[in-house]
Subunit: 661 residues, 3 copies
C-alpha cells in the first residue's frame, strides 16, 4: 500500500525540506504528490524557467525512497499569464477553449516531461489539479471562443443543421436555426427561449463544457505520452461531482484518483462513510475495477476526528485503493486552506494528528504485501450511474430527484446489508461479472440501446430493480416516442400513464409487499400493469390505488419497478427482498449493520476480508470460517480467528484461506 500526502516544498523555506523528508520516513510515507501549485515558482515569467528548486526537492525524495506523483502544475496558472491574457479568464471563469491555456500549459508540460520523465522519484504524472467543479469557478465560460468551439462541437456531433434542429426540437419555440452562426451558448441571446431554454441545448452545453475540459487534459496527456510513454498518468476527480463524467474521462487515464471529499462545490455533502462508500465504488467502477488512489481527501476546515484518518484510509483500501494520500502533508501558514486538516498540523509533530498519521503509516507498511494489487471480489450487485442522465435530469420537473442523492439512497442499504456492489455506467457489460442484482436508481435519460442491454441482462436470468422517472427522455432530452418510458415497457411489464412531480414536503403512502408500510416523495407515477404484478400500491396521492412497486418475470430473470422515491426504510426492506430473491449474498453473513465488509482477492488467489466499524458502539463479528488476523501488531500470525470484536472506528484485516489451501 502506498501512503502519503501532498507535499508543497515551494511554500516553505528550503532549509526545512530535509526535516520534512525525515519526518516522512519516520511516518512511513512512500508516495507524495508534488508540484500542484508550482507553476509560478517554475515559470516566474513567460518562458523563464526555474527548475532548481524542484530538482533539489525531487532528489531529496529520491534519496529517502519516497516516490512522487508529479503534477503538471497546470491547475493554477501564475498571475502573469492572466494579466497577459485576460481572455484566458473572461468574467473570472477559466476558459477551456482559447489557445492560451493550451499553448502555455503544453509548453510547461513539455519542459517537465523532458526534465523529470526519467527521474528516479517520479512514479506518476498528475495532470492539472482537479477538473470540473474544482476547476476555475465551475461556471461554464461563455466567451466568443467558447461559442465558436461550441458550434464546432455541434457540427461534429450532428453533421447538419437539420439534424441539430431535430435533436433540439427547435420548432417548439420558434428557434429553428437557419445557419450555424445563429447557434449560441445558452444564456447569451435574449429571446424568449433564454428564459426557458431548451433542455436539449442545455444538455449539450453540459456535454460541450465537459469535452472542452477533457480537451485541456488530453492536450497535456498527448505531450506526456509522446515524451514519457512509460510513466502512467492520472488526474483528480471530486467524489461524484456532477460536472465530470468520471466513466468517460477515466478511459483516458492510467490510474483513477479520487480527490477532496468535502468543501469543494458539490462534494461538500459527501463527507460521511456512506457517501464515501458510494464515491469509492464509483471510482473503482471508473477504472474498470483496477486499483485506484485516494488523494487530498478529508475535512475542508478543522481536524480529522480521532481515528477517522485511519478508518477512512482502510475504507479506501477495502473498496479497492492501493494508494492512500488522504491529506496535505503540512498545514500552510497562509492561503484559503490554512485550516484544512494535514498530516503535520499547525500544532506540530507532538500532536494527536501526526501521531495518528505515523501510526497509520506503520500499519499500512506492515499489511500483507499481497493486498497491493489485489482486486475487490465477492461483488454480487451493480448500481448504474450515468452523468449525461444526471445532466438531463436537471432540466426535468423532477426537482426532488437528484442523481447523487438517489444513488446514495439505493447504495446505502446494500452497504448496510454487506452486499458488495460496483457502480458502473449503463454501457458496461452486466452479464460478464456475475452480478445477481442490478439496480438502476433512475436513468432519466436512457437510450434505446442501453434499455436493450438491461433487457438482455434480465432475459439471461439477471434480476433488475429500476427506480421511477427512468427511461423518460432520449439522448437529446426529448421524450421517447410512444408514451412514457417506452423503452422499458416490455422489460418492466408496466406502462407509465401519468408521471406526477410532487412538491417539496408532499408524501404519498405506499403499502404492501416486502417494503411494508412506507411513503414516496418527489415523484409518483400512475401505472398500468402489462404483465407485471403489483407488489405494493399507493394508498393516497395522484396514483392512489395504483401499483407503487411491481415485479415482472422476464425471460429467465426478474424486473422490479419502483414508481416513486421510496423512503429509506421501505427501500431498504425492498432491496433486502430483491437481494434475497436474486441470491445477491453478503460478503459475510450475519454482520452488524454498522460494519462495512469487503473482500479483496490477489492474483495468486489469496483472499482478504476487511471489516470496518463505522458505528459508535463496539461491534462483534462472528466469522463463518476461521481466518487469520494479518493486521493487529503482536498477533499470533497463525492463530485461527473465529470472531472479531471491533471498537468504534475499528478495522480488521483477515486472511481467508484460498480455495485450494
Amino acid at each position: 500500500m502506498h501512503y502519503g500526502g501532498d507535499w508543497n516544498p515551494e511554500q516553505w523555506p528550503e532549509k526545512t525540506w530535509g526535516e520534512d523528508v525525515r519526518l516522512m520516513t519516520e511516518a512511513g510515507i512512500t508516495l507524495v504528490r508534488t508540484g500542484t501549485h508550482g507553476w509560478a515558482r517554475t515559470e516566474p515569467a513567460p518562458g523563464a524557467w526555474d527548475f532548481g528548486w524542484l530538482d533539489r526537492a525531487l532528489d531529496l525524495l529520491a534519496d529517502a525512497g519516497v516516490d512522487v506523483v508529479l503534477s503538471t502544475m497546470t491547475g493554477g496558472p501564475p498571475p502573469w499569464l492572466l494579466r497577459r491574457h485576460p481572455e484566458a479568464a473572461p468574467d473570472g471563469t477559466a476558459c477551456p477553449s482559447g489557445p492560451v491555456r493550451h499553448t502555455y500549459a503544453t509548453r510547461l508540460v513539455e519542459q517537465l516531461a523532458r526534465r523529470y520523465g526519467d527521474h528516479p522519484a517520479v512514479a506518476l504524472w498528475h495532470i492539472g489539479d482537479v477538473y470540473g467543479s474544482g476547476h476555475g469557478c465551475a461556471r461554464p465560460c461563455g466567451c466568443e471562443a467558447c461559442e465558436e468551439a461550441f458550434r464546432e462541437w455541434l457540427r461534429a456531433r450532428y453533421g447538419s443543421l437539420d439534424a441539430l434542429n431535430s435533436a433540439w426540437t427547435t420548432a417548439v419555440r420558434s428557434q429553428t436555426y437557419g445557419a450555424w452562426e445563429e447557434v449560441r451558448l445558452p444564456g447569451h441571446a435574449g429571446s424568449a427561449g433564454e428564459c426557458a431554454p431548451d433542455p436539449a441545448r442545455l444538455l449539450d452545453r453540459r456535454r460541450f463544457t465537459h469535452d472542452a475540459l477533457l480537451g485541456c487534459f488530453l492536450a497535456e496527456r498527448e505531450v506526456l505520452r509522446a515524451l514519457t510513454p512509460e510513466v502512467p498518468v492520472t488526474t483528480g476527480f471530486l467524489p461524484l461531482d456532477g460536472s465530470v463524467d468520471q466513466f468517460g474521462w477515466a478511459r483516458h487515464q492510467d490510474v483513477v484518483a479520487l480527490g477532496p471529499a468535502a468543501g469543494s462545490g458539490e462534494a461538500a455533502g459527501t463527507g460521511g462513510p456512506l457517501a464515501a462508500a458510494a464515491a469509492f465504488d464509483a471510482a473503482r467502477g471508473a477504472g474498470g475495477g483496477q486499483p485506484w488512489m485516494l488523494l487530498d481527501h478529508g475535512p475542508a476546515e478543522g481536524p480529522w476526528p480521532p481515528g477517522a484518518l485511519r478508518l477512512r484510509a482502510w475504507q479506501a483500501v477495502a473498496q479497492g485503493a492501493d494508494a492512500v494520500l488522504p491529506a496535505p502533508w503540512r498545514q500552510p501558514r497562509g492561503g484559503a486552506g490554512r485550516f484544512r486538516a494535514a498530516l503535520v498540523p499547525h500544532a506540530g509533530t507532538a500532536s494527536r494528528m501526526f501521531t495518528e498519521a505515523r501510526a497509520l503509516g506503520h500499519e499500512l507498511a506492515a499489511a500483507p504485501a499481497e493486498l497491493e494489487g489485489s482486486r475487490v471480489s465477492a461483488v454480487r450487485a451493480a448500481l448504474v450511474l450515468d452523468w449525461p442522465s444526471r445532466w438531463a435530469l436537471e432540466q426535468s420537473p423532477a426537482a426532488g430527484l437528484d442523481a447523487p442523492g438517489l444513488l446514495l439512497r439505493y447504495h446505502a442499504p446494500l452497504l448496510r446489508s454487506h452486499v458488495a456492489c460496483d457502480v458502473v455506467p449503463p454501457g458496461r457489460d452486466l452479464t460478464g461479472p456475475g452480478y445477481r442484482l442490478v439496480v438502476v436508481p433512475h436513468l432519466h435519460l436512457l437510450s434505446v440501446l442501453d434499455a436493450r442491454r438491461l433487457a438482455g441482462y434480465v432475459r439471461g436470468g439477471g434480476h433488475l430493480l429500476v427506480g421511477c422517472c427512468s427511461g423518460i427522455v432520449d439522448e437529446s432530452a426529448r421524450l421517447h416516442g410512444n408514451g412514457w418510458a417506452a423503452p422499458l415497457r416490455e422489460l418492466l411489464g408496466v406502462t407509465v400513464e401519468e408521471p406526477w412531480p410532487l412538491a417539496e414536503g408532499v408524501t404519498v403512502p405506499v403499502e404492501g409487499g416486502p417494503a411494508g408500510s412506507g411513503h414516496g416523495s418527489a415523484w409518483a407515477e400512475v401505472l398500468t400493469l402489462d404483465g407485471a404484478e403489483a407488489v405494493a400500491r399507493f394508498t393516497g396521492g395522484p396514483a392512489a390505488g395504483g401499483p407503487a412497486v411491481t415485479r415482472h418475470s422476464y425471460g429467465d430473470g426478474v424486473a422490479w419497478y419502483v414508481a416513486t422515491r421510496l423512503d429509506a426504510g421501505a427501500l431498504e426492506r425492498l432491496l433486502g427482498a430483491a437481494c434475497a430473491r436474486a441470491g445477491a449474498e453478503p460478503v459475510l453473513p450475519g454482520l452488524p449493520r454498522e460494519v462495512q465488509a469487503a473482500e479483496r482477492r490477489a492474483a495468486d488467489g489469496a483472499r482478504f476480508v476487511l471489516l470496518l466499524n463505522h458505528g459508535a458502539r463496539q461491534a462483534r463479528c462472528r466469522l463463518p470460517q476461521p481466518m487469520r488476523d494479518v493486521l493487529t501488531p503482536g498477533r499470533d500470525a497463525d492463530a485461527p480467528v473465529y470472531q472479531v470484536t471491533l471498537p468504534p472506528g475499528g478495522v480488521a484485516v483477515l486472511s481467508a484461506a484460498p480455495p485450494g489451501a
Copy 2:
C-alpha cells in the same frame, strides 16, 4: 361555447396533421390558437417567406370547421434576428424600445394580415404571445435606447423638468435634475440615490416599461386594424400578473384572453380555484363585462388531476368566458414545455386525459346555445384593484402587504358566501352597475380624484369597505399632504395618526364587532375617530386600545375601515356583516361554503345558474325555486329541479325561468 387548445403544427411532421384534425373533430374542438411559435418557420431568413405550411394547416382546419385564433407569431423572434441585431436583446432581455422589433414584427404582421385576413378559418388575431412577466425575461431592459425612450416618456408625462423634479421630490436626495440628459433609468447611475432609489422614479420605470410593452402591441394592432379591420384582436394576460395593467391594456383589445395559470413568474401561485376565481373576475372586469376567453391554462408541469379540466373550464364559463382553450393540444416531445399538461398527452388518446378532454368537448357542445353571449349577472359587489397602486406598494415599507395576496384575502370570503363580484379599476363607474358593496382591499396609491369618486358612491347610498394602508401616496408615490390617508379622512371619518409596519411573524390582537376575536399582521395603524365609530379595537401592539375596525355613516351610505391586515376568519366574518348590512345578497341563498355559484343572463332574458363544487365532499344545494337541468345528458329537459347534489368537482348548469316566463 368555443372549445379548443393550442395547435402547433410546425412542431410535427405534416403527415400527422390530418390525424390531429380528425381527433379535434372527435373531441368537439371548435377553436384553436395556431402560429404562436411559427415565426422561425414562416420567415426562416430575413424577408424569406414560407407560408405554404400555414396555408395547408389553416385549410385543413377550415375544412373541418375548426376556427382559428391566429397568432402574429411575434412572441418568439427567430435566432437569426437576435444574431443580426444583438441590440434587440441586450443583457438577455427583450428590448421593447429599439426599432428592430417594431421593424421586423410589423413587417411580419403585414404579411400575415394580407395573406390570412380573409381566410375562412381565421376568427381572431392574437398579437404576440404573453406580455409582461412572460415576455422575455421580465427584467426591464436598460439599454441606451430605453433610456432615451424613458426620457421621451417623462417629457411627455411631465412637460418640464421642474414638474419632474417636483413629482419625484428630487430635492430630498440631492437628485435635482438640471437637464433631461441627466435622467437615467433606475439602476444605472451610481449615486447614493441608486441604493435607495426614489419611489417615484421606480414607479415611473414600472409605468414606462409597461407603456413600452404596450407600444409593441399597439404597433402590431395598427397594422391589423388597417388591413383587416373586421377581425377582432386579442393578446394573452397572465392571471393577476404584476407587470401588465390589465385594465388599461384591455381598452386596446377586442377580446380579453387570460393565459397560463401556473409556473410562469408571478402566476405560479395562482393555481387553486380561489385564485382562479379572482383572476377570472379581473379578466371579465378588464373587458368591461364582455365575454372573455381562457387560453393555455393549467399546470406548468404534470397532468391535470382527474376532473380538474372540466371543473376549471366550467368555472371560466361561470365567470363569463365564452371560449375555453385550457391547454396545449398535444404535448411536444422536446422543449421546456415537454411535461406540461395537454389535451392529447404523451400517453396518447387512450389516456384518461384525452378521454376527459373529449367528454368536455361534447358537454360544452350540448350546452344551451343562449349561454354563449350571455353576461354574468346578479353581481352585488365590486372589488377595486389598481396596477399603479400595486407598483407603488412595492416601494413602501408594507412588505407584508402584497396586492395579489390582499385581493385574494378579500375576494375569497365573497366567493364563499356566493356574493358575485366584479373586479374593477378605481376609475370605473361604481354607481351605475348597482353594486351594494364596494371593497377596496387597499389602494396604497390613491389620487384625490379617485378618492372623490369613492366618496360620491357612498354619499349616494353605497356601502364601502376600505383596507389599511390605503390613500397613503399620490400618483407620484409622494405622501399626500395634510397627514396620512388625507383624501379618505372625511369619507372614513377617521384620521390615521401613525402607520406601523409589522415585522414578519408579528401579530396584533383585535376584538369586537362582527369580526369577533381575531388578529392583524403586516400593518397596523393608530387611528383617531373623526365621526366614525369603533367596531373593533386592537387589544395589543402599537395601536393597543385604539380602533381596528370602524364604521362611518356618510351621506346615504356607510364606509367601513380596517386598520390592519385581518386574519382570514375575522375578515370573513366582517365581510359577511358588511354584505348583510349593505344588502349584497348571494346568487343563491343557503349554499354550502365550497360551492361556487354564478348567474349568467342572456340578451333575451334567459337566466342560467351555474354551480360548481370545489370541495372534497358531496354538496347538496337546495334551490329557492324550481329550475331545469340543462347539462346532464339523458335528463328530462322539462322536469323541475328542486335540489342539486354535486359530487366533488361536480358542475350543474340550470335554467331559471326568465322574469316574464
Copy 3:
C-alpha cells in the same frame, strides 16, 4: 445638552421655513444638521453656485439662536456629476479613487468654507454623509483607477514585491507575483485563486477600501482645516458598522458622531437598548472618552414607540453624549425616507411624536448645566474591539463567530450587572484608566505587539478574560508560527491543540466552575494546560473531557480563557465571577437587572448618576447614599432621595455630592 435633528430646508418651500424655525424654538431645539442633501441645490450645474437659499436658511437659524452642524454636502453628488463622469460610479458603485470626487468635492468644500466658516450659526462641519456601509452601495469599487490605487497602497505598505509575496503567502496557490502590474483587486482576475481568494489579499482589500474612503474624508478636512481652523469637524459613523474602523478614523475628527441606528446595512440589527449600549460605548471609546453626538438615529420605517425617543436620548447622554440629534426634523413627502420617524411627523404638530419631541427638548434644557462637558466615570472594565480583526475573521472558518455578535454577547452581561465599561482598540493603554477587568471577546487577528500589551496589563495586576479563536492569525491573516494562538500561550497558560469549527446548530456541553452548566457553539478548542487550571470542562463534542474555561495566575494578575462561544447564561455567570474576583464593581450596587446605570463626573467634581429602565415593568432602585433628583419637574431640589422608582422607560438623573461636599 444640545438637542435637535436634521433640517433639510431645500426639500420644502421657503415660505414654510419660518414656521419650522418657530417650532424648533418651541421644542427646545438648539442644534440642527443642515445641508446634507444640498449639493444639487447649491451647485445646480458644474461651477454654477447658488448660495442664496442657504444664506437665508442659516440666517433664520442664527436669528433664532439655533446652532448648525453644516454638512459639506458631498455625501450625495448631483445627477450632472455622474452623467458627466460615469467613471465616478462604475457599476453603480461610488468610486473613491478617481480624481473626480476629489476635484468636485474639494471645490465645493472650499466654497462652503469661505462663505460660512465664520457664519454665527455654524458650530461644526460635517464631512460627507455616512462613510462605509452607508456610502454608495457599500460594494467596493473595482475600477482600473482603484486597481492602480490598490497597487500604490500595497507598494507603500510593503515596500517590495518580495514582502508582499511573503505577507500574502502567494506561493501557496501559485500566485507569486513577478511584477506589480500583476496584482489585481480580488474578484477581477480569473485564476483558481479567485474562487478561494487568499485571506491576506481580501484583508488588504478591506484595508485599502477603508483607506480610500478615509482619503475622501481627509481631502475635505484638509480644505476645512486650512480655511476654518477654528471650526471643529465630524462625520457620521454607523453603529458598529463593519466597513469603517471607527477607532482609526476618529483620530482625524474633532467630535465623534454616531449615525443611523437601524435599516442601513449592517446597522439594521442594532436597534435594541443592548445593541445601542455597545455602540454608544464604542463611540465614546473612539473619541477617547470625549463627549460625542448622536445623529439621525432611530427606526428606519415607522414611528418611535411611545417614550422610546426620550429613553434613547437619555441613554446616549448616560453613555457620554453631549448632543442628541436623534431624528430628521420633518418627514419628507417623497424619497426613500418618507416613512422614517421624524420629530415633526407627517401627522403634524398635534401628534404624539411632536409632543414627545417637545417635552424632551424642555427636559434636556432644564438638565443641570454641569452635565454638559462631564465625562463618563466609575468605569471598571474595558472590552477590546478591533476592525482589522473583524475583517480577518470574515476569512476564517469560524462562520458562527461574528465580531459584533460576540461583542454584544460579552457587553450585555456587564451592562446588566451595572459594571461600566469602555470599548477600546487593542492598541489603547489598558493600565492607565484603572480597569479592573479587560475582556477580549476575541481577537482573531492579534499582533505579537498587542499580545505583549495584554500580557503587560496582566503582569501589572490586571484581570483579563479572553474568548476563543483569539490570537490565531497575524497582521497578514497568516497563522502565527509555532502553533495555534502562540502569542497568548504564555499569558493564558494554555496551548490550543486543535481548533474545531462547529456547524450551525451543533452545541457542546460545558460543566463546572462559576459558569455552571452550559454549552458552547460555533467553535471549540482542544486545550492542554501549561500552567492554567481548568475551571470548566467540555463534557461532549470534539474536545470532550478537556478544559472549556481556564484561569491562570500570571504576574500579579489573572488571565481567564474561554475555549468556545458560551451560551448567554453561562457567560453571564462567568463574567459575574470574573468581575467579582477582579473587583470590577457596579456603578451602584443592588440595582434591578433591566436598569441601566451610569455615572458622569464634571471637571469641578460634580457627580451625576443616571438610571434608565429598559424593562417592561416598574423598577425600584435603592440608592447606597442619599442623592438629589435634578430632572423631575416640580421636585424639591434639595430633598435627599433614598430610592428611585422608575416606570417602564423611566429615566432618573441624580446628583451625588462631590467628594469634598
